[in-house]
Each structure stands twice: as structure tokens, then as C-alpha cells.
């Protein structure tokens, strides 16, 4: 049950939080990093604009992208999303959710043959597809799965 690992992490979580805060601070002031952040893509308010501005529009459907999401979210504020690209030459993976205020949620770049697997938690206000777009050898591929976000209660 990995109790030791869990206890260890709890005891170090305060120091960890400080480290994360410092890192976040560095990110905010890091001009080089800020310059690379695609503001037009991440602040776009519609799915079409977000895809267009991020360069992920017009992807072809693919069965080689594996997505793991809950059918019904246990908590819309923390929806676990896992994606794996089995497409050779994958260089990036982007996550979109249609009904989020800013539909582009994240973009991950994979350098030098890094394994194209991501596992993140995203926030969703309402039922919508979670779309994964993969760039491989300069071409775009996509797959999606619906996640239901419900008010809860009334079960069984």
C-alpha cells in the first residue's frame, strides 16, 4: 500500500510547496520562457480559434492515440487525463476541451525521442469532449473521448 511513500511525501510537502512556488515565480519573470508562450492560442475562447492559433487545426482522426479519462468525472475540478501516442515521430501532444473558457488546456513537447505519454488533471465545468491532438513528423492526428460532468446525487 506504499504507506511509507505516502508518509514521506506528507512530511516533505511543505518544503515541496515552497520549491514549487519559487519555481512558479521564476517562470513568471522568465522573459525567455514567456516569449515562447503562445498567448493567442491559450487565451482563445472558442475551440476553432484555439486550434487555429496553436497550429493544431485540421488533424486527421487516429486510433493510435490512446486516451484514458473517466466516463463520469468524480470531481469536475480535477479530471484525470492520460494520453499516449503510438504514432512514430511524435513531437508534441496538445489537450483541448470544447466547453472550457479557454479550450486549449496544455501543450507538451517531446524532444529526442522522449516517450509521448502524458498524465495530467484538468478542470472541466461541464460535459464535453476531451480532445488530444498529436504532431508527428509535421503531421497532425487527433482522437477524443467524452467526459460527463454531473451535479451528482440520487444514485441507486
Amino acid at each position: 500500500m506504499n504507506q511509507a511513500r505516502r508518509t514521506f511525501l506528507k512530511s516533505t510537502s511543505i518544503a515541496g510547496a515552497v520549491a514549487v512556488a519559487m519555481f512558479a515565480g521564476l517562470l513568471r519573470t522568465g522573459k525567455a520562457l514567456a516569449a515562447e508562450w503562445n498567448s493567442a492560442a491559450f487565451t482563445a475562447k472558442t475551440l476553432d480559434d484555439a486550434m487555429k492559433n496553436s497550429g493544431y487545426a485540421g488533424a486527421a482522426p487516429s486510433d493510435d492515440i490512446l486516451i484514458k479519462v473517466p466516463e463520469i468525472a468524480e470531481n469536475g475540478a480535477l479530471v484525470p487525463v492520460e494520453a499516449t501516442s503510438n504514432i512514430p515521430g511524435t513531437t508534441s501532444i496538445a489537450i483541448f476541451s470544447d466547453k472550457n473558457p479557454n479550450p486549449l488546456i496544455a501543450e507538451f513537447k517531446f524532444l529526442n525521442g522522449a516517450e509521448p505519454f502524458i498524465s495530467v488533471r484538468i478542470k472541466m465545468a461541464e460535459t464535453a469532449p476531451v480532445r488530444i491532438v498529436v504532431k508527428a513528423d509535421g503531421k497532425l492526428y487527433t482522437a477524443s473521448k467524452d467526459v460527463k460532468v454531473t451535479a451528482g446525487g440520487c444514485g441507486g
Binding site: 505516502r6 468524480e74 460535459t127 460527463k148 454531473t150 440520487c154 441507486g156
Partner: protein, 570 residues
């Protein structure tokens, strides 16, 4: 008055003699024991109970007359009610089986054949069936530690002890978790240790995804390794308060299930069974997608389905069963395993007719001991009902209507919501409604009542949301409860539409509901943490004591669109 055992048998004999059906075995019988003579078959037998909802004593339970299936589920088990169900399974009307499996002629049949279930009666029946099936296993699909006053007041201890005495070998869960994660872990690590295997492949820790329980257990049955995999209710933290199990995540976990099945087979299992609390529609979909499972023995949706549904998949076939609720049925699955695999099977869902079975003395003692400290409180007569009171049905039940009426009157509300739970026993006309009966409908660990100001838009959004949990076209997105019961507001429900378009023509006191106006809405069973309010059982008992006589309820039912030719509605 219900009849005693001898009268019951005389009636069976008479009915048979006069050409009134009954199955041939009982018709020939002439004695109660023969009614439950079930020839043994094969070499691996699994007995299955599920969703007893802590009903230790025999009860009445009226099956639904509305259990609608849409799309691929239309007019197929479990979405067949009344005469449609009888026809599909070749059960003759007017028989004990018709009484057990349908709502037909409920009041008369209930008086004739008496109460069903009861752990002492179940214990005797299980002993009899197991005597002819050496090495058999008893599986409990969960929803065992919740549903009665004594289960609530003893934090499920009465049912933990009763389950052990009954001889349960393997269990999974759902409502158990509403006692809190710590309580469940305590029982599994102490009371159940070395006696009952509590299994759940689909519960993991939120932080690292570590398993919380063993995913499966392999039992040797007459020298044959049999794997029982546990599938807890996947949407426990959605349908019930998530704060009860804050560190656990659930879900269907189909990919993981396939790995667990493969693992069990690799470890030598010749029979693989999923003990499931998914609900039958989810189980039917799952059976077509996951390979290597011989049978899914299911619960949650409380469907008394006389025969398994056989689902073909890439690996062969999987049987899917559902064994009803409230201790009313005992499922018996006999496998003939030859050459390392299942060659053939027999299945019977036996109704537990209390009048036909001599109660088990040891279980009687346990039940009497459990109830003793509470008897006076349980027996308090609050009112007399003039009509039948029941809960089960997609949109409303008379007991739910009574709860809605009580909520609206006691709270001074314009409208009321009551959850679409599927547990809760039935009462016959003329019976006294006791505190125990009220608790049978309300005994949960989050019983607070609320009075909330909601706009018409909010009311519609809630109703659409719950309706979609019932009628979403994808079974994996259904939660297995019924529609929220609505008091005060009439509406139409268009089953040809999707979420947002089903609930229409909402009217309150003859006026259309104003989307922007605020209404006072009473409710109970909040899933959010920290809500305060008088427990629902106090609200209902206050109302009943005041009324003394409860006239037959007028059900607030929606006008349904899109149910022509649907055999899930009578």
C-alpha cells in the same frame, strides 16, 4: 392476513389442480421442501445475493411497473415489466413466480403468498441449496450494510455479523462506503479477516493509484480454481457523498479489469466471475467488450431477471445476471467445468417466500439480539396507510410521493425533490406505518433536509441532469438510480431527446415555471459536505403523526413522450 406455510402449500396444490399454472415441480410437490428442490448440476456452484439493503426480516417488495429501456436496451432484459416480463420468461400469471418477478395484482398476491426475504429464511434456503452443492461459494454483491434503522444505528455491524453467519465468502460494495472509508476498512481488516474476501478491482487511491482492496480472489471449488473479481459501484463518489471516501477513486476501469481477468487466468483460474455492482445495463455493455469472463453476477439496478442474458464477445461469451433486491431472491449458478473451462451451466433465480421456509434458529437469535435495544422505537405506529406504499419505478412511487408531500407541508415549500433510490420496502393497504418503515425508506448517513431558493432555470437543470443519469444513450454514463422524484411541479419528459431537451412544460400550480423567478424547494440527502438540517425521518414521522391516516397518494408523474411500444412501461 398472510397465510401460514401449510395454507400456502394447500393453495399451491389447489392452484395446480385447478390448472392455475405454478411450475410443474411445485405443482407436484405437495410439500414446501420440494418447492426448493433444485437439482444440482456440474462441479462449480455459485450462490448470489445482492442489494438486500439490510432487510433482516421478511418484507413486501413491489417490483416496478415503469423500468424503461431505450435504444439498444429497449424491450430487452432488464427493461421488461409486468406481462411483458411474464411472456418473455414463460411465467404464468397468478403464480408465486409472477408475484415475485412483477408488480401484477400486487396487493392480492402479497396477501396470498405473503412476505419475501428475511435473513433467517435465506439462511435455511442457502443451507439447503449448499447441501446439494458441496464446495459452493456464497457471493454478496453489496448494498448489504445500509437500508434499515438497525444497520444505520449499528454502523452496519448487524449486517456484518449476519453476512458472516449466512456464510458469505466474497463481497463487494456500494452503500457500504457511505459509512465512511475508515469504517469499511475496519470491517474488512478485522471482522472479515480470514473469513470474507472483500474485493474491488476498481477502487484505487487518489494520489498514486494504489489498490485499496484485493482486486480478486481465487477459490478452489472441488479442485477447480475459480476467480471472483470485485467490481464496486463505479460512481459511488458521484452518486453519494464523495467526502465519505475522499482518498479513493472509483470508475468502471475497463482496461484494468481486462488486465485483472488476464492475471487471474494466468494464475490458473478455470472459471472467472465478476461480482459486480455496476448495474445491469453497464454489465451488458461491459460483457461485450471485456473478454475472458464466464459470468457477471450483478446487482445495483435491483432487477430480478429470471435468466441470464448471454452476451457474445471476441473471447466467446459471458453470462450476465441480476438478482433483485431486499433479500427477495437467491441466485444459483451451476457451472460444469470440463478440460479447464466452462462447458455448460444452469441458472435459477429463486424467490425467497418466507411462508415456505422454516427460519434458521441461529439467525433468528442473532436478529432478535440486534433488534432488542431498538424494538420500542422501531415499532412506534405513526399512521395507517389506506393505499399501497412502494418506491420502485423510474419516475415516482407512492412512498416517495408521501415523502414529497411531507417535505412540502412541513417545510412550507413550493416544490420538493426526493432522490430516486431503488431500495425501500412496500406496505399494503390497512397496514400501520411504523418508525421502522420510515427508516426503511430513509436510513442514510446524510439524511439532512434542506429548503433552498432555486430559479426555474436551476430546477430544470437539476432535473435534466438526473434524467440523463437514467437515460443517457451510453450505459457507461448511467448511474443506475431512478429519476429524482418531484413534488409540486408537473412536467413532460421527452425520451426521444438528449440532455437539456427532455424536461419541458414545467408547471407549478397551473402556471408555467418562470426561468428567472425563485422558488422554495425542499429536498434531502445532500451530497455536499457540511449541510445541516433536520433528518428526513423526523420530517416524515412528524407529518405522519399529525395525519394519522394516509389516504392513497396521487402520484405526480410526468407525461412521457417516446414510449410507444415500450415494454418497460405498463
Amino acid at each position: 392476513m398472510s397465510m401460514n406455510r401449510r395454507e400456502f402449500m394447500q393453495l399451491l396444490a389447489f392452484a395446480a389442480a385447478s390448472g392455475f399454472a405454478l411450475n410443474s415441480r411445485s405443482a407436484l410437490a405437495g410439500n414446501a421442501d420440494r418447492f426448493y428442490d433444485l437439482p444440482s448440476f456440474g462441479n462449480v456452484s455459485l450462490l448470489h445475493i445482492t442489494d438486500c439493503h439490510a432487510q433482516l426480516l421478511p418484507i413486501y417488495f413491489r417490483e416496478p411497473n415503469v423500468n424503461i429501456g431505450l435504444g439498444a436496451s429497449k424491450n430487452r432484459a432488464p427493461h421488461l415489466v409486468g406481462e411483458y416480463l411474464l411472456k418473455a420468461y414463460g411465467i404464468k400469471p397468478g403464480t408465486p413466480e409472477a408475484y415475485a418477478f412483477t408488480y401484477l395484482d400486487f396487493e392480492h398476491a402479497a396477501k396470498t403468498y405473503g412476505k419475501v426475504g428475511g435473513f433467517s429464511h435465506l439462511a435455511t434456503l442457502i443451507k439447503k441449496i449448499r447441501a446439494a452443492r458441496p464446495g459452493s461459494l456464497l457471493l454478496d454483491g453489496g448494498d448489504t450494510w445500509q437500508g434499515s434503522a438497525t444497520a444505520l444505528w449499528t454502523k452496519g455491524q448487524d449486517m456484518v455479523d449476519a453476512g458472516k453467519l449466512l456464510g458469505v465468502d466474497v463481497m463487494t460494495g456500494h452503500w457500504e462506503f457511505t459509512l465512511g472509508a475508515d469504517r469499511v476498512k475496519h470491517v474488512v481488516d478485522n471482522d472479515f479477516k480470514g473469513k470474507v474476501d472483500f474485493v474491488a478491482q476498481n477502487i484505487k487511491t487518489v494520489d498514486f493509484g494504489d489498490p485499496v482492496f484485493e482486486p480478486f480472489v481465487i477459490k478452489q471449488v472441488n479442485g477447480i480454481p475459480v476467480a471472483i473479481i470485485g467490481q464496486a459501484f463505479p460512481y459511488t463518489p458521484v452518486a453519494n457523498p464523495g467526502y465519505m471516501t475522499p482518498d479513493w477513486t472509483f470508475g468502471i476501469q475497463e482496461d484494468h479489469l481486462q488486465k485483472v481477468v488476464n492475471d487471474a487466468r494466468a494464475k490458473g483460474a478455470q472459471v472467472v466471475v465478476l461480482l459486480s455492482h455496476n448495474g445491469m445495463d453497464v454489465d451488458l455493455k461491459l460483457a461485450g467488450r471485456v473478454t475472458g469472463i464466464d459470468a457477471i453476477m450483478g446487482g445495483h439496478t435491483h432487477d430480478g431477471v429470471p435468466q441470464p442474458v448471454i452476451v457474445k464477445n471476441a473471447g466467446g461469451q459471458t453470462l450476465v445476471t441480476n438478482a433483485g433486491s431486499n433479500g427477495k431472491f437467491l441466485g444459483v449458478l451451476d457451472f460444469d467445468v470440463k478440460g479447464g473451462k466452462v462447458a455448460d451451466f444452469r441458472y435459477k433465480l429463486l424467490p425467497v417466500f418466507a411462508n415456505l421456509i422454516t427460519p434458521d434458529a441461529e439467525m433468528d437469535v442473532l436478529i432478535a439480539k440486534v433488534r432488542a435495544p431498538y424494538e420500542t422505537k422501531l415499532a412506534e405506529k405513526l399512521a395507517v396507510t389506506e393505499g399501497t406504499l412502494y418506491r420502485r419505478g423510474n419516475f415516482n412511487g407512492t412512498f416517495d410521493q408521501l415523502i414529497l408531500d411531507a417535505l412540502m407541508e412541513v417545510k412550507g415549500a413550493d416544490a420538493a425533490f426526493s432522490p430516486g433510490f431503488r431500495w425501500g420496502t412496500s406496505l399494503l393497504p390497512g397496514e400501520a406505518i411504523t418508525m421502522e418503515h420510515v427508516m426503511d425508506q430513509t436510513a442514510i448517513t446524510y439524511p439532512q433536509t434542506t429548503l433552498t431558493e432555486m430559479t426555474g432555470t436551476t430546477i430544470k437543470t437539476i432535473m435534466e441532469d438526473v434524467c440523463d443519469n437514467l437515460f443517457n444513450a451510453d450505459p457507461y454514463k448511467q448511474q443506475g438510480g431512478d429519476m429524482v422524484r418531484v413534488g409540486g411541479i408537473s412536467y413532460t419528459c421527452d425520451l426521444t431527446k438528449t440532455i437539456g431537451g427532455r424536461i419541458n412544460n414545467m408547471m407549478l400550480n397551473g402556471k408555467a415555471l418562470d426561468p428567472n423567478r425563485k422558488y422554495k424547494v425542499a429536498g434531502w440527502a445532500p451530497v455536499a459536505e457540511g449541510v445541516t438540517g433536520e433528518p428526513i425521518w423526523d420530517v416524515v414521522s412528524t407529518y405522519l403523526r399529525d395525519k394519522k391516516t394516509i389516504a392513497p397518494r396521487k402520484l405526480n408523474l410526468p407525461k412521457l413522450i417516446g414510449v410507444e411500444g415500450n415494454e418497460g412501461i405498463a
